[in-house]
């Protein structure tokens, strides 16, 4: 869940609160659909929250600002 480091991800997403929301939404989606954007062995984290953060860090989740 804390991988990758918050400092690195905050360069991509402005706020840590938004980051929690994004990670939460994406991990729920992973849990419900079983859909992962990378092969499972490429995720460092075992948990979906951590995997969601990794996807944010890898630029696999596009964040739109309104």
């Amino acid at each position: 869940m804390i991988y990758p480091s918050i400092d690195k991800i905050l360069n991509i997403v402005d706020s840590k609160y938004a980051l929690v929301y994004i990670a939460s939404s994406r991990s729920k989606q992973m849990t419900k659909t079983g859909y992962y954007q990378k092969p499972l062995n490429e995720y460092k984290s075992e948990k979906n929250i951590g995997r969601a953060l990794e996807e944010v860090y890898d630029g696999l989740i596009h964040v739109e600002k309104h």
Partner: protein, 326 residues
């Protein structure tokens, strides 16, 4: 393999580490100052005493104290050097250690972030444990139990709206695919999977297609994907009649092989009864929900249109299920 990293993700562990690191920093600041202060005291004592043996004693104490200080300073340095060596060998434990320490150092001011993540993680774990109950007795809550916005929920909602439709929508036009007059159960199933986006514009069909070929027009056209074993969330499961122990869940693909005496039977008369490994299937549908021993399905080309059907879970015409999410 990432045991240490997982442990380190817990906010309580992070807090402990963070305060441990602060204490370490304090000790490392205090020790050199303390040594200098003590050396000054020893010297001044020796000078004040004016005796030669006491002066020598004080001089001897200096290297001793420096040695103790060096030992204290060396321990973390040795640990760090060791971890760096292990890390260059790409050993997970070392990567975990470094990430753990780095995150603990960065945690100041971000503890609420970790608390919130943990809270969300627990919520997600809650979803997993209450994931689509396949033998739910409350028939009203079957599709809603997976959440209307979930991919299986949206899939079922979509195909529910198609019930009653036929494939032919013009002289030579079809709604779900294939040519007019073709068997279209598989065209309907793949059409529905193409309609439901999961993320970034990728449909369930696109997602499945990454793991093997799909023949849109054949009842067993999705078998290569479900049997590829390339994604742990995608599985091909034998039905109970063929020795399986799998209970289907909403959104699963369901395959059938009709008895020889059925007009629609193609596979059994040609290849014999499905043996659990090879041979074809006559028909395919999508599981809507399971109620006790009854599987409720929505199938294309069933009675010439999209129809809702029920099947006994132990029936030998039901041969297998394709699961694409856990």
């Amino acid at each position: 393999m990432y045991f240490l990293l997982d442990t380190c993700q817990h906010p309580a562990v992070l807090r402990t580490l963070y305060f441990g690191l602060i204490i370490k920093d304090i000790i490392f600041t205090v020790i050199p100052i303390g040594i200098i202060a003590m050396m000054l005291v020893d010297f001044s004592k020796a000078v004040v005493a004016g005796k030669e043996d006491e002066q020598q004693k004080a001089v001897k104490l200096i290297p001793k104290r420096i040695m103790y200080a060096v030992i204290v300073f060396t321990i973390p340095w040795i640990v760090n050097a060791l971890m760096k060596i292990l890390s260059s060998a790409k050993l997970n434990v070392a990567l975990d250690f470094n990430t753990c320490i780095k995150n603990a150092r960065d945690a100041e001011g971000n503890f609420d972030y970790y608390d919130n993540l943990l809270e969300e993680e627990e919520k997600v774990a809650g979803i997993r444990s209450s994931n689509p109950g396949t033998t739910n007795n409350d028939s009203n809550s079957h599709s809603s139990s997976i959440g209307d916005n979930s991919a299986p929920g949206r899939l079922i909602q979509l195909i529910n709206g198609e019930v009653g439709n036929t494939n032919k929508i013009g002289v030579d036009k079809t709604r779900y695919g294939g040519q007019v007059g073709n068997a279209w159960c598989a065209y309907f199933a793949t059409w529905a999977l193409k309609k439901i986006n999961i993320i970034d514009g990728k449909s369930i069909y696109d997602y499945l297609r990454e793991y093997g070929n799909i023949n849109d027009g054949a009842a067993s056209g999705m078998w290569p994907v479900f049997r590829s074993g390339k994604n742990e969330n995608i599985s091909f499961n034998k039905s109970k009649a063929y020795g399986g122990n799998y209970t289907p869940k909403p959104g699963d693909i369901i395959w059938f092989q009709w008895h020889e005496d059925s007009q629609a039977a193609y596979c059994r008369p040609r290849y014999g009864k499905w043996n659990g490994i090879t041979q074809c299937s006559d028909h395919v549908g999508i599981v809507e929900f399971v109620e006790g021993k009854t599987i409720h399905t929505i199938e294309g080309n069933s009675g010439g249109k999209v129809s809702k059907r029920t099947h006994d879970i132990n029936s030998d015409t039901v041969i297998a299920f394709g699961s694409w999410y856990k």
